[in-house]
Symmetry: C2
Subunit: 179 residues, 2 copies
């Protein structure tokens, strides 16, 4: 059985929408997630990077994210054909760790805790596919990297890009015979 | 550079001593860690498994563990010759996650957060060595498994056993030319 690693922020969970929500509510800016482009998206909408960092360390930031459209349905079906691990580079944010486990327990209750990995680097995990929004993770992965479209990675090239979980479905479940 | 995975409980951190401490303080039993043998060690000293489980979920249980003798010195020196990851099956205990990261930051400050992995299974991590006290992790590891001696694994055979961090030093650092 082939193994897939799936990232959390901006892949399963709508991190960009959460940033836009905080920017709108806290800073009085009408910011949509589409505006959060590039590594310096905070500066481009005139928010200091330290402010964004403080949000990320705030209790509830990760816990309150929305699930990406179709993620639950497609992940559940991937698990019928693949060994699926959820792999999030979360150690940098110790307050996020419990929130991420609780978030998965709420929204992806069908994923056993043994298939959750909270880490920093991802290159030491052996798998066939990695679905991730960050080049640093995709570039060092030895399997097939799949770039999940996010506002901050619009200029990144050289990777198979999926725009949605429907795209993941087409790419990884298209050999499935309909029942 | 070869890669080593190092477990936390009963390898870097003296989990058995922590259980003995709780049994002594909470249950009024003069329990030494050497008594905690086998998978049913709790029953053998007349403590209900649910009581032990409640300790593990209690804030501070992981944070207050003692460092294993010589672990700091040997891990620091291993890091000069190997890529070292700390890999703990901690997701089952969401309250332990932050405590484990904080514990490492205090006692192993020289380990970058990117080399910490909190997970369930360990078989998907690609490495040359795994130092662990549990057969379930060693048996599914594809590199060279190294059994770290613990009260609960005394009857386990079939693995290279190290009794201490001095033994790890002899096994993995003995090719080092003294300077």
């Amino acid at each position: 059985m082939k193994r897939i690693l799936i990232d959390m922020d901006d892949v399963l969970a709508d991190a960009s929408a959460r940033f836009a929500e905080y920017a709108t509510e806290r800073m009085g800016k009408a910011v949509s997630k589409e505006l959060l482009q590039g590594h310096n998206w905070a500066a481009s909408i005139d928010i200091h990077a330290d402010t964004v960092k403080s949000w990320v360390h705030e209790p509830g930031f990760f816990r309150g994210m929305q699930v990406m459209p179709d993620a639950q349905d497609v992940v559940r079906r991937l698990m019928e054909q693949y060994e699926v691990f959820i792999v999030s580079a979360a150690i940098e944010f110790p307050n996020s760790l419990k929130e991420k486990v609780e978030w998965l327990a709420e929204h992806f209750a069908f994923i056993d805790w043994r298939y959750i990995v909270l880490c920093g680097h991802k290159w030491m995990i052996d798998a066939d596919y990695l679905i991730d929004d960050h080049e640093k993770n995709l570039a060092t992965f030895r399997g097939t990297p799949i770039l999940f479209d996010a506002p901050h990675n619009q200029s990144l090239t050289g990777y198979q890009r999926v725009k949605s979980w429907k795209d993941v479905e087409s790419l990884l479940l298209n050999e499935q015979v309909p029942v």
